[in-house]
């Protein structure tokens, strides 16, 4: 399965990057972001991408996060056949993965340090960017295991619903702040992809 093999490949990549880098290094930067662009907080998501409570049958325990990338939704399982559903942006072609991870760390207004591979692809990116409203990671970040993947906010709310990131899941800032308050470190995150042909 490409999903898992890519995941392990990326885990190895992340581990090697971490060896090279200072803590806080490994934020995987995303294509489609504009560092410095101040997020428009009045941006209104299309109705299908707005946060809402939905019917959701699941064998996962309440409190588990389920990401269904092909749908562009993140579900926080509530039990009783319900979940809180958030619209998300997901990894572009070649940056998809699936599997089970846990939230290992949480941060408010995280700093962003694009790794060298990203700088190589997009040399115009800053080498370091302090957390704040112009930061592509947005208002909150939840770090997934020891990977380069995060669930984070965005300064580009118009990219919610698209497949543009480098494997991270982005929510609008209001939604990521809402989710941040609801999930502790240690929360199970299940990522599902569309099956391969």
């Amino acid at each position: 399965m490409i999903g898992m093999s890519r995941l392990f490949g990326r885990l190895a990549l992340a581990a090697s990057l971490l060896l090279l880098a200072a803590p806080g290094y490994a934020q995987q930067p995303d294509v489609g972001d504009e560092p410095g662009l101040i997020a428009n907080d009045d941006y209104e998501l299309p109705p299908e991408l707005r946060k809402q409570v939905v019917f959701f049958r699941s064998s996962e325990a309440p409190g588990t996060i389920v990401v269904q990338t092909s749908e562009r939704y993140l579900y926080l399982v509530q039990g009783n056949n319900r979940a809180i559903r958030y619209g998300i942006g997901v990894g572009r072609e070649g940056f998809t993965w699936q599997g089970l991870l846990k939230i290992s760390r949480k941060a408010e207004w995280p700093d962003w340090v694009p790794p060298p591979e990203m700088i190589q692809r997009q040399p115009y990116l800053p080498r370091f960017m302090a957390g704040g409203p112009g930061n592509p990671l947005g208002a909150r970040a939840m770090y997934l295991g020891s990977t380069v993947y995060r669930i984070h906010g965005t300064n580009r709310p118009d990219t919610i619903g698209t497949a543009i990131s480098s494997g991270c899941f982005r929510l609008v800032n209001a939604d990521v702040a809402d989710l941040y308050e609801r999930v502790p470190v240690g929360t199970k995150v299940v990522v599902r992809q569309r099956p391969e042909l």
Binding site: P47, E48, V53, F56, R57, S70, N81, R82, R194, E196
Partner: protein
């Protein structure tokens, strides 16, 4: 053998032949043949229901129910445009199907026992799970219908909606006040004016109505469903061949989504070596031929119309209606198709 006995046997044989002839005439085994001769599927649809069936100003139909008939046409003709849409009223729809004015009724019709037995019809499979739900202003910050105790409820008079509402509140020991009107427009106006705390109708209708409110985002539809409204296509009884085509058209679309086959990657799927995928797209086995169609029947559906999720998203999903129960059984919902094998 006496003459009398011979006469009796003769009469008996004649009676059996006559009964068989009458039965045969009642047998409607030719829908597929007549459809092919006509070079079009006749599809009974709603005159106008956002997301399900609406004509544009040039008479081009679109919607979830419309796409289902196009999928059947794609399976038969490899051409999703070989459909004639016949708009039908709610009260005439089943009779028009019985009298063969249409081949399929794809008109947001709830499958119930009395409709199958009473009209001699058959609902092959559930295309869309709907149910009565509640819309509330988002500012009320409630998550479940069980928090609606003491509410003033806007509801259309003379509907089963009203009866379900009474049952639900009684069953949960809650009080409510009906704010009811004969016409849907009046109910919407009352809700807009804040004359009630919540609005009840079928969930699909609530989402469509929400889009017409000045600020749709200020209203939420609760995830609770208090009634079962399984919407299904309808065909006549005693035409098993046709019924199977209609049933498996829907199941092919659901299976395609589960297997990850879309209108975008169908060519890739035709090269797949996964047995489930090969059986569906017809590169292994002859499942389509056993339906009276071609081996690539399902590939045609997927190429022209897409899988179930694609059809859902393009029509009802864009109204903001979450997949909910209509999500696949493996992804949080209850849509489940038997396997093709």
């Amino acid at each position: 053998m006496s003459f009398r006995k011979g006469l009796l046997i003769g009469l008996g044989v004649a009676a059996v032949v006559a009964a068989a002839a009458v039965t045969y005439e009642r047998y409607d085994t030719k829908t597929l043949k007549r459809t092919i001769r006509r070079d079009a599927v006749l599809c009974g649809v709603n005159k106008g229901l956002p997301g399900f069936s609406t004509p544009d100003d040039k008479g081009n139909w679109s919607g979830f129910d419309v796409d289902f008939c196009r999928a059947v046409a794609a399976a038969i003709f490899n051409d999703p445009n070989k459909v004639k849409f016949v708009p039908l009223d709610a009260n005439e729809r089943f009779k028009e199907l019985q009298s063969r004015k249409v081949d399929i009724l794809s008109r947001n019709s709830t499958w119930s026992m009395s409709r199958e037995t009473g009209y001699d019809l058959y609902f092959p499979a559930v295309a869309y799970y709907d149910g009565e739900g509640f819309m509330v202003p988002a500012s009320r910050k409630i998550d479940t219908a069980l928090e609606l105790d003491g509410s003033k409820v806007c509801v259309q008079d003379g509907t089963t909606t009203l009866l379900n509402l009474a049952d639900y509140f009684r069953a949960n020991n809650m009080k409510y006040t009906e704010v009811k009107f004969g016409k849907l427009d009046e109910v919407v106006a009352a809700y807009k004016d804040g004359r009630c705390d919540t609005f009840t109708a079928d969930a699909s209708q609530l989402y469509a109505l929400r889009q017409t409110l000045p600020k749709p985002g200020d209203h939420v539809i609760l995830p609770d469903m208090i009634s079962k409204e399984p919407l299904a296509p309808v065909v006549r009884q005693r035409d098993d061949e046709w019924m199977m085509i209609v049933k498996w058209t829907l199941y092919a679309m659901i299976n395609a989504e589960e297997l990850g086959i879309t209108s975008q990657n169908i060519d890739e799927a035709l090269k797949s070596k996964k047995p489930d995928v090969m059986r569906l797209v017809g590169t292994e086995g002859a499942y389509g031929e056993e339906l009276g169609l071609t081996k690539d029947w399902a590939a045609r559906i997927i190429r022209h119309i897409g899988n179930y999720g694609e059809v859902y998203d393009r029509n009802v999903g864009k109204l903001g209606i979450p997949r909910g129960m209509n999500q696949l059984w493996s992804a949080g919902g209850i849509q489940y198709a038997p396997p093709i094998r």
